[in-house]
């Protein structure tokens, strides 16, 4: 059986492939994906919000042209919503429609036990795959060429669900009592994400590969913004990334993530900002910082930060131009 995972041949291929669909990977990320495929293990990704945890799954799906099946976790999520459910309505409707026919067939039996035996035959009909409503986990197992199963924000689910997930993820199979065991045709690549709302159980952590994605460094962030925002000038890009990086070092409640950098870059572009200046930053800071107290904390430092972000850049230019002046 052919699976859709063939392009995952080497770490370089993964980095390049993800790059094609606009995801700027790192050695760690590509290694994790490579191992996840090689060892058939889920990847558990931790890290601050908005650094591209979910996006990794989406990009993988886009690159490999595989379906992305997403299971968003929340408190109270249970098997019925994650795995499968019987289509009660359809079952009921079919029995109603087939009532006559059933009566005929069952009525043929001379005595009660014969009728019952016949009825038992139909039971299997009504609990067959036809009436099975596949939820994300089962759905992911049924894909012919494999799939990317994204279990998002697993830390928000209950512990009971976590335990249930262990069973599914260890063998990539699901048992439906009425039908039997459904084994994945091609095991999906499973990506779990966590924002550390709650400490995950050891058992789950031990069964997954662990990947921590932190805030990107200057170079990577520039590449990411360039890939996402069309037509941004080099000067502005380098300045704004430098500014964001220095904001992240400040003592604030919520540090801006890549998603916010990208939004900010788009905002600045929309305002036709050629380069960073104090007024622009002041007017658009609410795109970058989402807490009133953070904005208040950063505001007094804006002139200094802008000077530093712009300064190093233009400083480089004057240094090269300086001999002419002298």
């Amino acid at each position: 059986m052919t699976s859709g995972y063939e392009p995952l041949t080497s770490i370089e291929a993964i980095t390049a492939g993800l790059g094609e669909v606009g995801y700027i990977s790192t050695a760690q990320i590509s290694t994790a994906v490579f191992l996840a495929h090689g060892l058939r293990k889920p990847i558990l990704i931790e890290g601050p919000a908005g650094v591209g945890k979910t996006d990794l799954a989406a990009s993988l799906g886009r690159w490999l042209d595989l379906p992305i099946i997403r299971l968003q976790c929340y408190e109270g999520l249970d098997e019925g919503k994650a795995l499968y459910e019987w289509k009660y309505g359809k079952q009921l409707l079919y029995t109603q429609i087939l009532k006559e026919k059933l009566n005929e067939l069952i009525g043929e039996g001379d005595n009660l036990s014969k009728s019952l035996g016949k009825l038992a035959d139909f039971e299997d009909l009504f609990f067959s795959p036809q009436f099975l409503e596949a939820r994300p986990l089962l759905n992911a197992m049924q894909q012919d060429k494999g799939s990317i199963l994204l279990i998002d924000e697993i830390d928000k689910s209950d512990e009971a669900f976590e335990a249930f997930l262990l069973e599914v993820l260890s063998d990539y199979q699901v048992s439906v009592p009425e039908i039997g065991t459904i084994r994945a045709k091609v095991p999906p690549i499973v990506i779990l994400t966590s924002n550390n709302v709650r400490e995950l159980g050891d058992a789950l952590k031990r069964r997954c590969l662990h990947l921590h994605i932190g805030f990107p460094d200057h170079v990577r962030e520039q590449r990411i913004v360039r890939a996402r925002v069309d037509g941004i000038s080099d000067a502005l890009l380098s300045q704004l990334v430098r500014f964001v990086q220095s904001v992240r070092e400040a003592d604030i409640k919520k540090r801006p993530s890549i998603a916010e950098t990208v939004d900010w870059a788009r905002t600045l572009l929309l305002l036709h900002a050629g380069s960073l200046d104090e007024q622009f930053v002041r007017d658009t800071l609410n795109v970058l910082l989402k807490h009133e107290s953070d904005i208040a904390a950063i505001s007094p430092q804006i002139p200094k930060m802008v000077r530093e972000a712009v300064g190093t850049d233009s400083g480089g230019r004057t240094a090269s131009g300086y001999p002419d002046l002298g």
Binding site: I11, Q28, G38, E199, D202, R206, L209, H210, H212
Partner: protein, 454 residues
């Protein structure tokens, strides 16, 4: 090669990275997949497979660099050794006299033979069982064992012989051997130190933690404080994990009619899925009343630090401090950084002669309403009330309103009731009266309290 990975995992385990057998197998499969060729790749991969949190990743990266710096030399050295053995296979008769060994050892220390020296050192490390090193004091011992394994005795014999002879040539010979011996010892020592960093350092930290946890809290010195804070954080995490799980308990027997009907609406009301009523566990609610007079103050710090580190499990936490007058210190603890808060509390409440009676009457007037049937009252104090009225009437009232009353006493049972201690008179109203002298005691006490809420 398998040995390399299993030893590395041993090193990780000794540094408190919990690697399960399954993960060890994964690591072996990973290595089989990607090989040892690319160190950066190997590091990223093993970090992915073995280290499952940010803290563990830090430890892993540090150990990886240390360990594979050592084993890098070893593997290349081993290859060479194998080559050599192939070549010499039949030439060697296995019989070597002391002279040869000594000469070989001297040759190792000559410039240009670094690779051969590294090989010899690695072999000696293997022979001496260097991976069992646990404490830094063992480095000298292991270095000695390694020199011995390399043939140090032969060198020693030659040296003695040379010293007995006289003449310039013999002196030079002796000097040569002394230099060689020193160089070998240095190399062995360096290797042993690195092995300690990899295999022993974590173990030593653990040992120190154990010592700190069982030391009397008043006997702790200033430089222990940082360690204690880390330890308390660890304990808090352990307790939090233990007690934050399974908030629900199914009690079979009582039918939850409302929810059963709802769940079975789809079956035309025929109850296929029966839902039983669930007993909700109470959220722990703790009122800590702390004597902050001189004799008990040292303990208060640890109790409060532990309780406040458990905020996740005990959302409803109130702290009161007294020596003469009693006051609510929850706000001070919430608003200030911990050390500052403790200082402030001691300054505000720590003066004045202890009076339990006065404290209880203050508590009665201002704060009694915080106690309800879910509350655990923790009293931390030595019960020495300077012969004042203990106001048992008030205390029994509080104890009666609360779920339970636990008295933690830094004094040993032998001292209870001596002098101005009124502990025995409070005892009948407390569910438990325990002696708390070390961090271990404290952990046990808090663990027991939280267990009553499960």
């Amino acid at each position: 090669m398998e040995r390399q990975i299993s030893n590395f995992i041993r090193a990780l385990r000794s540094s408190d990275v919990k690697v399960s057998t399954g993960e060890a197998l994964d690591a072996a499969r990973t290595v089989a997949m990607i090989g040892y060729g690319d160190r950066g790749l190997l590091k990223d991969s093993l970090a992915c497979v073995l280290a499952k949190s940010e803290a563990e990743k830090d430890v892993h990266d540090k150990l990886f660099d240390l360990y594979f710096a050592a084993s890098n030399k070893r593997s290349s050295a081993q290859n060479e050794a194998e080559d050599r053995e192939d070549g010499e296979g039949d030439g060697e008769s296995g019989e070597q006299d002391a002279g040869d060994t000594a000469e070989q050892m001297i040759a190792l220390t000559q410039p240009g033979n670094e690779q051969a020296l590294a090989t010899a050192v690695e072999r000696a490390a293997e022979a001496a069982g260097l991976n069992d090193i646990r404490f830094s004091t063992q480095t000298a011992y292991y270095a000695q064992q390694m020199v011995k394994a390399m043939g140090g005795e032969a060198l020693q014999a030659r040296l003695l012989e040379a010293l007995q002879r006289s003449g310039a040539e013999a002196d030079a010979d002796a000097q040569r051997m002394i230099d060689a011996r020193r160089a070998l010892t240095m190399a062995a020592r360096e290797r042993a130190e690195r092995a300690f960093e990899v295999f022993g350092a974590g173990e030593t930290e653990k040992f120190r933690d154990d010592v700190a946890a069982t030391k009397r809290l008043t006997a702790l010195e200033a430089h222990d404080m940082a360690r204690m804070k880390l330890l308390i954080a660890k304990i808090a995490k352990r307790l939090a994990v233990k007690h934050s799980r399974r908030r629900k308990k199914t009690s079979r027997g009582i039918l939850d009619v409302r929810r059963t009907m709802r769940a079975n609406a789809g079956y035309d009301g025929v109850p296929f899925n029966v839902i039983w009523r669930q007993k909700k566990r109470d959220r722990p609610k703790i009122v800590a009343i702390c004597d902050v007079s001189g004799s008990v103050a040292a303990y208060v710090r640890f109790l409060l630090l532990l309780l406040y580190s458990l905020k996740e499990v005990i959302p409803d936490l109130h702290a009161y401090a007294f020596s003469y007058r009693l006051g609510d210190v929850s706000d001070i603890l919430e608003e200030n950084e911990f050390d500052g808060a403790i200082k402030k509390i001691l300054r505000e409440f720590g003066l004045g002669s202890t009076s339990y009676g006065q404290a209880w009457s203050d508590f009665k007037t201002d704060h009694e309403t915080v106690i309800d049937r879910r509350t655990t009252i923790i009293v931390l104090g030595d019960g020495r009330s300077n012969y004042g009225d203990p106001r048992l009437d008030l205390f029994s009232g509080f104890a009666g309103r609360a779920k339970q009353t636990i008295w933690l006493n830094p004094e040993g049972p032998a001292l209870w009731g001596t002098g101005d201690s009124v502990i025995p008179r409070y005892a009948p109203y407390c569910n438990q009266m325990s002696h708390v002298a070390t961090l271990k005691d404290l952990e046990r006490a808090i663990d027991e309290i939280l267990t009553t809420y499960s």
